[in-house]
Amino acid sequence: MTKNGIGESVRRKEDHRFITGGGQYTDDINRPHQLYASIVRSPLPHARILAIATDAAENRQGVVAVLTGKDMAADGVGGLPCGWGITSRDGTAMAEPGHPPLAVDVVRYVGDQVAVVLAESRAIARDAAELVDVDYEELPAVTDLVAASKTDAPQVWDIAPGNVCFDWHIGDAAPVAKAFAAAAHVAKLDVVNTRLIPNAMEPRAAIGDYDNGKDEYTLYTTSQNPHVIRLLMGAYVLHIPEHKLRVIAPDVGGGFGSKIFHYAEEAIVTWASRRVGRPVKWAAERSESFMSDAHGRDHVSHAELALSKEGDFLGLRVSTRANLGAYLSTFGPSVPTYLYGTLLAGPYKTPAIYCEVKGMFTHTVPVDAYRGAGRPEASYLLERLVDVAARLTGIDKVELRRRNFISPDSFPYQTPVALQYDSGDYHACLDKALEMAGYNDFGKRRDASAKNGKLRGVGFSSYIEACGLAPSNLAGQLGARAGLYEAGTIRVNPTGSVTVLTGSHSHGQGHETTFAQLVTEALGVDFDNVEVVHGDTGKIPFGMGTYGSRSMAVGGMALQAALGKIRRKAKKIAAHLLEAAEADIEFANGTLTVAGTDRSVSFADVALSAYVPHNYPLDVLEPGLEETAFYDPKNFTYPSGCHICEVEIDPDTGVVDVVSFVAADDFGRIINPMIVEGQVHGGVTQGIGQALYEQCVYDPDSGQLLSGSLMDYCLPKAGDVPEFNVATNVTLCTHNELGVKGCGEAGTIGSTPAVINAVLDALSKFKVSDIQIPATPERVWRAIRSAAA
């Protein structure tokens, strides 16, 4: 193994900077003569703006300007675009309402942007924002899916009757109907997948900085994908040509999807900076994050699984309503459709699947991708349903899963819902997890818990997911309005150190380490001599950024392709220097050797020769040693795994204690096992959060977000989760050279159903078969009590 190469748990390069306070986040950046923006937000879920009186705010000392949606419209500012179009089953395009960065006539959720105050200090801006007097005519509002579906429900948009944005389906209904007609058993489940509020550690922030001399704009922003922001904001919102707009996403403190999207504030500060001729900074307060960062999940579904007498899955049908919020966020429509319906086969060979999804508008914060994005919704539904089927048929839940797994020898496997899985071994992950969990001794542990008056349960979840977004042509057919390749540049410096320029963006993933490991492995360059640069459209090639666990499978592959070009060119140079044939040059451990001889040249000397080409084949080879590659994936990648959770329930209070959690995952080849383990720990923690703690609550009458702070919205803390027991079982991805699949979201995708299945197992003696997430103590207590009554 190459030292610090692929497969080694190298310590993270970036941690010294972060741990010692040397990180440079957007709010750490200050521009000369900078102003501070405070956003006036709607206190109402739905209202007509009758008038906005700005004079009191404008007259406050230190206030430079108060700007509204009308000012933006007058400057020709466009709406925030949606990056994915969905076509309904009847062939019509989804309802796509406009989304001005500052509302003009109507506000549609509590937190909707209404005006912006620009002032000399943050405090003055905030004080003055309260002096902006908005005269609202309150309109009826609706926040939840069930209420929004009623015939007399308040309407969010005129162009979306019944609040329906799209009515989409996937799969073939006829064979599914046939399967159900032939079924011996039909397992049924009504299930709610709750709305989540992302809460990255670093709140969103943005600085717009217009350079009048050059007529150029710079936007510093908390983004997972600065080029995407440049494209969307430049082309659709502010009409700035790309060569005049630079977007910098410096160190970013967590995203989980919520920092993919193009947000109003980015456009507001960039536009305002030109308008007032000074840089403008905005940074969200935590309360603002709660009401303005895109939320996640929020589905209501009914699912049915047809089984044969022996327990074979014959057909699956699913009907889902998905809450999109008040406006379409950048990728909102893709999440409950192509990232959800296509995943409903799971790891099972169910031959017929049909899924219909209605995307609905409500007067709530827009909903978009949140760690897992669609796949957690699919796996939660499916794995809950499999447990329902096990109870219904009396077949052991492990056995039922095994019986229906796609077998390891049937890859590539075409599912009935569009995806073709390339590799996996679901049996192996299950076996490994069972062993790690000590499943054979579970009965003893349950009895021991019972002696202490506790209810112990064990829950399973076998998941697959699709990540490494995505083959661009396929994504385009499915409605994506962008390519989904990645770009990377390997810049070998004259003395042999390497600068990596990547379109991927690290906001916690550790790219500066793992990408350097790729370089060390391929070129033998010392790990400390590799620097990874990301997040600045002024420096890096056009990249699509980081989301959907794509950084290694797509971004890493772009680098791998560029590294291949470097290796080939290095061999050519070495062949010249060593006066040998190119085909005879071997390149290993940083040295290029003529095969079978002791004649060699170091990679550093090759690099020097490329930049000081005194002895160099200039007639056939360009000097320099820098290569760029764009990589477009051939398929999604399909990580999979098995999670086993054990819980102990206190029947007197209903408190659920997660006492053990095992994850056996297949992420393909692992570059850095330590970082992968960390990703699983974080993902599982978020999944446990959804299962037990996190509650996004809108008051149905007032439309207010009741869980609007961390005092009420419960994020899991370290003490709320157990020591995790994680391992991997590798099958290689077959369609990328690295064999990598991705690991960023799997923890979130697999864990929630494992926890809830464990809770229901613990409650099985009370015949409790369903519980709403999060399984709060009161819900568990009520379930026990109503069963006992």
Binding site: S707, T776, W781
Partner: protein
Amino acid sequence: MYEFSYQHPSSLDEVRRLLQENDEAKILAGGMTLLPTMKLRLARPSHLIDLAGIESLQHIDDERSSVVIGAMVRHAAVAESKVVRSRIPGLADLAANIGDAQVRNRGTLGGSVSNSDPAADYPAALLALAARITTDRREIAADDYFLGLFETALEPGEIVQSVHFPVPKRTAYAKFRNPASRYAIVGVMVAETSDGVRVAVTGAGACAFRVKEFEEALAKKFSATSLDGMSIAADDLNSDMHASAEYRAHLVRVMAQRAVSGAGG
């Protein structure tokens, strides 16, 4: 936050003067409620009068039949105090489980008692232990002190100086905490004192209150089983997104039993 003026007096006389001179002034103890409230712009004091510099509020005294704790003693100091730990271990345990480490290192006994948050932990201890609150004007029995939601017997400008905790025969606190805020959804302090058994509840109602029926049952026999089958009415209890009144009523009994067990009953 709105703009305010920060004052750091070194004597109570100075505190009183500042209060008299400024109608909209607020006393700052640990600030664990006041500062977040100000950050959310729900409070707008003209002056903050910080008591941190007043040494006479910083003591923990071991007296013959009681422990006296100054108003500015932080929760962490109570939790770590050898005096409290040896004389009233249940009180040290209570303090050790308030909020989180950051809150315990800033929050104070006097601040908690003066604010009387319905979900704060200390009010249960004051009631259960029949504490006496000493202010700059008088002494108030805990039974007369907690009047309602954020409402106490304190008069405007009256400053809590210390709390006098009689040492009970035994006591323990059991808390069912809000998983997000770490406040008490229900907290019950049970104490066997020289004047009988006292059961005090926080988190469940508008302010801390005693449960006489539980006290009578435990007076007959100080055992968790004495409360089996008992319940309190849910009618006036708090109900929010974390717990309904009915669930809180149930938890009062469960936590009371755990507190009794914790106290060795």
